[in-house]
């Protein structure tokens, strides 16, 4: 297993620095550009959630992202020291959110936010939230594509 840790300040403008780096690590490790982009997106969503919800947008704090490359999968851990998820948030996180049929007919009812966790759940193989002491850890894994199998 190979591992790299990337640490940024809790600035939304810095999220892309880590996200792009994760994309590069994924491509280097064997994902195609779509798979790597999906992991990049999930990483960005997780960091953004940490800054917005755990830190309430407060600057000067740190978000740590650990990327672990195993033989058959990649694991991304996004860690912060902010407010833990509430029981409601954990319930929605574990159970997912009901996805209503969308379209122009019910445009007013389409929410403008709140898709981050669902995107992570949809794109990654596993997503877990772990509270360790004062650390929030959002852990995501995705298997490498199997080459040569139709």
């Amino acid at each position: 297993m190979r591992r790299v840790q990337l640490v940024i300040d809790s600035e939304l403008a810095d999220v892309s620095l880590v996200a792009v780096a994760v994309n590069g690590i994924c491509v280097h490790s064997g994902f195609d550009h779509i798979g790597a982009s999906q992991i990049e997106l999930c990483t960005a969503e997780a960091i953004t959630n940490a800054i917005r919800h755990a830190y309430h947008g407060q600057r000067g704090l740190t978000v740590s992202v650990v990327v672990s490359v195993y033989t058959n999968h990649i694991q991304v851990d996004v860690c912060d020291n902010g407010k833990p998820m509430s029981s409601d948030q954990i319930e929605r996180f574990v159970g997912g959110t009901e996805v209503a049929e969308v379209g122009r007919v019910n445009l007013a009812s389409i929410p403008e936010g709140g898709r981050g966790l669902q995107i992570m759940r949809d794109l990654m193989d596993t997503v877990a939230y772990i509270r360790e002491g004062d650390v929030n850890r959002l852990q995501m894994t995705k298997k490498f594509p199997i080459i040569g199998v139709d």
């Binding site: 939304l12 999220v15 997106l41 960005a44 403008e112």
Partner: protein
């Protein structure tokens, strides 16, 4: 955020000159789009051919802008790359936004 704007008949084609629409720029992105609407543009085509990344905040800005257009307006997208198009499909926003392959196709369909 930077845009390149072209008016073709009644259609405003706004090319996004940024590669990423993410949480840090989403408020500015939304502000620009709502400003287009406030200036009387009823049909707007966003050329996303330079955009390689959009997150849920960017998507939220688009949805807010579409709502701001009201029933008589149209906010369409064109030139979405595969990574961006897959985000719209994943979130089913491809059923909300009309998506075209090029600005020409969009203008032709919406004029």
């Amino acid at each position: 955020m930077r845009f390149q704007e072209t008016k073709i008949g009644s259609v405003l084609v706004a090319k996004i000159l940024e590669s990423r629409i993410s949480a840090d720029v989403a408020p500015s992105f939304k502000h620009h789009l709502v400003d287009y609407v406030a200036k009387g543009n009823q049909i707007i085509v966003l050329d996303m051919s330079d955009v390689t990344f959009i997150d849920s905040s960017g998507l939220g800005a688009l949805i807010a802008s579409l709502k701001a257009m009201g029933d008589n307006g149209e906010l369409a997208l064109c030139g979405a790359r595969d990574t961006v198009a897959s985000m719209f499909k994943l979130t089913r926003m491809n059923k909300v936004f009309r998506m075209f392959s090029s600005p020409e196709e969009a203008v032709s369909a919406l004029s």
